[in-house]
Every structure is written in C-alpha cells, then in structure tokens.
Symmetry: C2
Subunit: 237 residues, 2 copies
DNA sequence: CGCAACATTGAGGGCCCTCAAGAGGTGTGG
DNA sequence: CCACACCTCTTGAGGGCCCTCAATGTTGCG
C-alpha cells in the first residue's frame, strides 16, 4: 500500500487496496471469490492519530472497515472534546449500518491511533450484493449482531447502576481473553467511562469499590480479576 | 384466517397466512413475486391480550412481524411486571435481528392487545434470500434502520436528562402525525416512562413541568403541543 | 358501590455528576 | 539535569436529579 501522508495532505488519501483485507473478522468466513470482489471494491485510506475520520452531518456514502488501529465514535462538543460512546479496535467495522439507512453521519469519529481503513462505496456494494446473495446474507448477519449488541447496551444503561455496568463490562472483556484473569486496559479510563455512560470520577470510585470488596485488584491499566463469580453476580442485576 | 383461540389452546396456533401481509410497512416496496414468496413462507399466529409472545432464553427461530395490535418488549421481573423497553405497534417488526444473530430470545414480549402475527422461519428465509437478493437487500436496509434507531436511543440515554428525553420523544411522536399539534398517547404512561428510562412518577412530574412552562397542555392521554420549537430546543441538548 | 388499576403528588434519600485540588507520568526546552 | 507544561487519574466536598415509598385522586368495570 502506497499511501500519501494524511498529516501533510489536506484531501483524504484514497487508493485501491492492494492487500487482502481481514474479511473473516468483519463478515465471517467468505467464499474466496466474494472476498476478492470486496477487495476489488475497497478503497484503502490512512488516517493520522488524532485526526477526524468523519463528522456528524457529513454525507455517509461508504461503509468503513477499520483494518488496524483504534478509533472513537461519539459526539464531540466544543471545549469538551469527544464524548466516546464507542471505541473500535481493528479489525472491526467502524461504520456498517448508517450508509444503508441514511445518507448522513450520525456521530463523529476520531482516530486514537494511526488508522488503516478500507472503505466500500455503498451503491456499488448494493449492486454487488444483488449479484452475490451469499455476501448479502453475511451483511445481514453482521447487522443483526450489531442490533443485538446495541440492545444489550441499551438495557444496561436503563436498568443497571454504574457498579453493575462496570462489572458487566469487565466480564465481557474477560470473555475475549480465554482462561486469563488479568486484563490490560486498551483504552484511556475516561473513554471506558464514557462508553459505560459515567464520568471518569465515577469509574475511578467504582474501581476502588470493587477493589475494596476483593473482586478485582487494580494497578494502573492492569486489572486482575480475583472473583469472576462475584463480578457476574454484581453485573447480573 | 381461521385461527384457533390461543386463550383456550395450550400450543401456539400457527397456520399458513391466507392474506397478503403488509410488507411495504415492514420492508419497503417489494417486487410482487418477492412479496408472494414471503407470503407463502409466513405462518400466521394470533395471541390473546396479556399473553406472552416469547420469553427470554427460549429458542428464537422465527422472525416475527406484528401485523396488527400492540406489544411490549422488555424484561419481566417477578412481582414487578414487565419493564417495557420498547412498545411495538403493528404493522412493524416485533423481532427482526435476533434470529439471524443468535438462537435465543434476549427479552420477553407480551401482548398488550390481541395480536396478529406473521412468523418467518429463519432458515427457510435464509434460503429464500439466497435466491432473491433484492429481498436480502431489503432486510439489510431494515436492519440498518434498526441500528440507527437503537444508536439514537442509546445516545439519548447516555447524555440527556429526563426532561430532554421526554421532549425528544414528544417531537418524534409529532413527526408521525403530519401537521397536527394534538397527540393522543397510545400507550400507558408507565410504558412510555419505561421506554424513556424513567419511572412513571418522574414522567408525571416532567409532564407537569413542561405544562407549567407553557410548552404543552396535558389532559389525560391527550397532549397538545403549544411550542414545538421550544420542545425541540429542550430535546436538543 | 366496591374494587382494581393507573396516574398524580409529596417527602425523603441515594446515586452520581460537577467542581476543585493534588499526584503521577511524559515530552519539550533551557 | 531540571523546570515547566500538559495530560491523565485520583480523591474529596457539595449538590442536583431522579428513584423509592406512601398517600390520594381518577377512571373503568363487575
């Protein structure tokens, strides 16, 4: 990939992707010709750390796959920074549903590290899906997973207090690491707090609370889970 | 439609749908052969008022379209009734994403009026979508709209206080009725409150608050919007 | 009428936000 | 090397929003 440097380049740099993109992580296992068709359509783009990926209200005509890096989605407010509602670690979809449903972005996205993106223009993609129904089903599944995840988070925001939300979040983080009880936080604590719908101060207090109860042991960005069952219990309410 | 009475019938009554189902409201405009294919696959089912439609943890193998009636989705807790996270008025999808993503229901659903349902078994539907890619695209769009709607609600829960959420809800209700300023609430106020993530008491106080500010005039289940602009302003924060 | 369900209103309190100050870490420049 | 700025996290104090509990008013129904 031969990409212009977006720090010095005003216009966003886009080019054909020469490499194979991580479709399995994005859409599940694909037939090789389906993957090739997507590869051929994808436009590669690089975004510098701290740069805006897209902004609320802008036209939204590309699906965006985050190939590598870490990005935050949320609403940036003047003099407040960006309130992250969602942190995305590549490889994952940074923007999946919005281009299908609406033609405007509904939130802001900022690069927290340097990003490698792959963008799929939605109209050509629609045409491709008409020719390749198996691929369309993969997008249906990916969207359905997104719906399930959002519904889960909404339920937690409505019915669980800050301690329970943190406990639940720690449990899901533990799911990823198989058979490990030590978590290394990949995001700033203020971003974790923001995702969980609380302030950094409250997150700090909740962490201390869980420590004092003997459920976890915190040291900087390392969290050691001492009592997974107890955490599950707290998260369950 | 000749349906058994689910009040006296233990097993859920299912039968082939003899009528044309309201696909335009569910999926947008469809080619007539696509609509016929869905009609042929749909199983009609009737649910009595107050009855459970499905329960958390049960296998979830059918998409469920609510043809007519009103249903509530949420978590029912013993001795507390069902905390409605979402009220669905037919015609609309009662269950769209879950069968694609997961094979278990993630919440409870209860009929608030007598319901007419149309159920689509997900595996045959998948096979149908492989043969009819235009139909698959319609499901992609429907799922994408659901994602957008959930994201919007999550944002409001995280960043808006109770008054702003109520104002925003009233504004969206006004969108439906075109050029009318009188709303007739179709749901119990406790269910409205529950959807908005607040208690009935708080909803009552917020209604009074908006009345005292001269933004709305409330009389029972009738709400007259006096100052749409003011409501928008309150909702916007 | 009596009963049941719902909505309203008030009192009290808890959760969590806001504001402010301090500690620790990191990069820059003198 | 240190001073300084800057960022983040932490901790405390105070207060506001909203939940909980309880009582009352209203509506619909047998």
């Amino acid at each position: 990939m031969n990409l212009a440097d977006p720090v010095t380049e005003a216009a966003p740099a886009r080019s054909r992707a020469a490499i194979r993109l991580p479709w399995p992580a994005l859409l599940g296992s694909l037939a090789s010709d389906d993957a090739q068709a997507l590869d051929a359509m994808a436009q590669s783009r690089s975004v510098a750390e701290g740069a805006q990926v897209f902004s609320r209200g802008e036209p939204s005509q590309h699906l965006i796959a985050l190939v590598d890096g870490q990005a935050a989605c949320g609403w940036s407010q003047p003099a407040r920074g960006l309130a992250a509602e969602r942190i995305v670690h590549g490889p994952a979809w940074l923007l999946l549903a919005r281009p299908f449903a609406d033609n405007r972005h509904g939130c802001d996205a900022v690069a927290q590290t340097r990003l490698q993106l792959a963008e799929l223009p939605v109209e050509p993609l629609r045409a491709l899906l008409l020719r390749r129904p198996m691929l369309a089903l993969r997008f249906v599944d990916a969207l359905a997973r997104e719906v399930g995840w959002l519904g889960e988070r909404m339920h937690e925001l409505m019915h669980k207090d800050a301690g329970a939300r943190l406990a639940a979040w720690l449990c899901t983080q533990l799911q990823g690491r198989h058979a490990q009880d030590v978590l290394r936080l990949a995001e700033r604590k203020r971003d974790i707090a923001s995702q969980l719908g609380m302030t950094p101060e409250t997150l700090s207090r909740m962490m201390r609370n869980l420590s004092e109860r003997g459920l976890i042991a915190v040291s900087g960005y390392t969290v050691r889970v001492l009592d997974p069952g107890g955490l599950q219990g707290l998260a369950g309410v």
